[in-house]
Amino acid sequence: MLMTHVLDLQFGDRIVTLMAALVLVLQIAMVTQRWIVLHIRIFAAQSFFLAMIAATIAWYNHAPHLYVAAGLTLMVKVVLVPILFERLVKRMEIDEEIEPIVNVPLSVVIAGGLTLVGYVVAESFYKPGEPGLGHNALAVAISLFLIGFFTMINRRKALTQVLALLSLENGLFLAAISLTYGMPLIVELGIFFDVLVAAMVLGILVYRIRETFESVDVSRLRRLRG
């Protein structure tokens, strides 16, 4: 009974779509979130679900190298990066995010609108012949990307911008695994390495900014003009 379900591709599709939706919801939740620590944890959760999606797809489509991707995601985005950042937060005792540039309700509305954009774009990719996974996931991926992007614009604290950037890359990851069942392995490795390094580099930058500016409010970085 369960096995049949577990072997049923439709079922897998459902699960994937469900988790993709969850990922999207978490992304929107991130938009509304003000507590940095919570922000980091939501990010971790989102990444976790992504890893799950990867694993599921790997299971149903027999794409073994996606397991590697899933594992890497777990390791890098669910464990390493959040730990790194939380320590950073503790060291810099940043407590609360000040008001975002666009207030929360409006941000949520905008996020919804961006989701719509994602679907509009993905629409043109929908081909009746194929399993629906393609354009659904692509729509979610584009939405994730856009919402993450919007969060970057919307936030003032350096660290939250970095988080937004990473969540934006989560969108890409989703697209990668759902559209093409992942990139060639070596490329995947390269990408993950890059993400890790990027996270560290940005972390270091944030730290140094904190050191020199006595704050991580990037909207104060306005010396260079013209």
């Binding site: 559209l179 970085l221 260079l224």
Partner: protein, 497 residues
């Protein structure tokens, strides 16, 4: 084999510089390393001229005339800038621009950082150019960002941190767009013959079957890639990081950023342009490129007209030239591509020369602000003054200097191709930039001798300046035949005709 060497030598150089104890050792390491890289690049160019394409590790590394040309330019810029750097950093060390601690330990670590990161930076660019796999190309591009961010923060000033942050964030967004584009392109290439597994992202493979690529996906892919790599190339409106980063990074780094890195970003664009135009016809990518190109030219004009800061002026000029090359690519065709390739060569020479001059001026007057320099550079430092003026005229497309030739080709291609409006706007913006640049440089270089003392000579610094200047002059009247041949073949690769 050449390709492998090309990538290994910089790594070794970086390691050597990292382990080196004394300043001289680091300098020597870099000098030797980049000399070797340059020689290898020349050899590679020769090989490509002879054999057409060179590839390694069953097509994981791949170099045709286009890559060879970009590699050659990158290597030459790296070599010249390193030679210059030696004089430049020594001057910094003595003038206490690196912080004057008694032990000089801090200074040494700073120098070590510079001499280690620069080879890595060059490595990542070379890697990007010779990688056949679009994903690897992307990864390399990401590395360039990460490495150069630290180079931007070299002086550790408040402003340089700000610049680094903007560079990192905008660059990060850019490369992630590029990544998105890359995987959409991969998606477009699914199920093509010979595209299984790793080679599915190989440019050469995709280019062969470009016609069967999924059209809608390629449209999306090109937009994303254009915006992604366009960010690194500094096309408006993704250009905003450029003036900040250029005005804060150490001058040799800026020179590399504004020439080699620009070329590499354009290189990626060109690769995708070829795929897209083979898949969808050149009209769709062409229009987008023209749009961004004209926007970049147009945006840079007002900033140049009212600019107060020399290096920011140069940054906007780079944005303008990125726009010019985008336009050339967008016009395409045999003439447009030839113009593009010539322009890439000529711009690399002139712009790096300009930044080196800017370095001399900055180290002598301790500022980039015209209001503080108050003219008279020609009197205070004759060599720099003359070269600076020449280079500025060259960069604004004034004959007899060579950029006029390439820009002439581009405008001619535009008007012959029916893009009359593009041609007119091109000329209009060009005039605006010329006006701004001339007014600025005229006020800076000419005029009575300012109160600042006469500059002391720095053989390494001024020597490399002079060498590059003579290249600028000579190439206006005589282009070496092999180089021209390489350029022609590269243009052939771009236009496919």
């Amino acid at each position: 084999m050449l390709l492998l060497a090309l990538l290994l030598v910089p790594i070794v150089t970086a390691a050597a510089a990292f382990l080196a104890r004394r300043r001289a050792a680091m300098e020597a390491a870099n000098l030797v390393g980049f000399g070797a890289v340059f020689l290898i690049a020349v050899a590679l160019a020769a090989r490509v001229l002879a054999a057409g394409t060179v590839s390694l590790a069953n097509g994981f590394f791949y170099a045709d005339a286009l890559s060879a040309l970009v590699v050659l330019l990158t290597a030459s810029v790296a070599l010249v800038c390193t030679t210059y750097t030696i004089g430049y950093l020594r001057n910094d060390q003595q003038s206490g621009a690196l912080g004057d601690d008694a032990s000089g330990k801090e200074q040494r670590s700073q120098l070590r950082m510079y001499y280690t990161l620069t080879p890595l930076f060059v490595f990542s660019m070379l890697f990007m150019v010779v990688a056949n796999n679009l994903g690897v190309m992307w990864a390399a591009m990401e590395i360039t960002t990460l490495v150069s961010v630290f180079l931007v923060t070299f002086y550790g000033k408040v402003t340089s941190l700000e610049a680094a942050w903007k560079y990192a964030i905008i660059g990060g967004v850019g490369v992630s767009m590029a990544l998105f584009g890359t995987l959409v392109a991969y998606y477009a290439g699914r199920g093509l013959t010979g595209s299984e597994g790793l080679s599915g992202l190989n440019w050469s493979v995709l280019a062969q079957h470009a016609a069967q690529l999924d059209k809608t996906s390629m449209r999306l892919a090109f937009v994303l890639v254009l915006m992604g790599y366009g960010t690194k190339a500094g096309l408006a409106p993704m250009h905003t990081w450029k003036p900040d980063a250029y005005s804060e990074a150490p001058v040799p780094t800026t020179a590399i950023l504004s020439t080699a890195l620009l070329n590499c970003a354009l290189y990626c664009l060109i690769r995708y342009y070829i795929l897209t135009s083979r898949c969808l016809g050149s009209e769709y990518p062409g229009r987008l490129l023209l749009l961004f190109g004209l926007l970049s030219m147009g945006v840079s004009v007002p900033f140049v007209l009212v600019q107060k800061n020399f290096r920011r002026l140069l940054a906007y000029s780079t944005i303008d030239h990125a726009g010019i090359m985008a336009i050339a690519l967008g016009i395409g065709g045999a003439m447009g591509s030839l113009g593009l390739m010539l322009h890439m060569v000529f711009h690399t020479i002139a712009k790096s020369l300009l930044f080196l001059c800017a370095g001399n001026v900055y180290q002598h007057f301790r500022t980039d602000l015209l209001s503080k320099i108050k003219g008279g550079v020609m009197r205070a430092m004759p060599l720099t003054g003359v070269v600076l003026f020449m280079a500025m005229l060259a960069i604004t497309g004034m004959p007899p200097f060579s950029l006029f030739q390439s820009e002439f080709l581009i405008v001619r291609a535009a008007i012959a191709g029916g893009h009359v409006l593009t041609g007119v706007l091109f000329v209009l913006f060009g005039t605006g930039l010329f006006t701004g640049a001339l007014l600025f440089v005229g006020d800076m270089v000419l005029g009575p001798r300012s109160d600042a003392p006469t500059a002391k000579r720095r053989p390494w610094r001024d020597g490399s300046l002079l060498a590059l200047a003579s290249v600028l002059v000579v190439i206006a009247f005589w282009v070496p035949t092999p180089l021209l041949e390489l350029v022609r073949q590269a243009a052939h690769v771009v236009s496919g005709q």
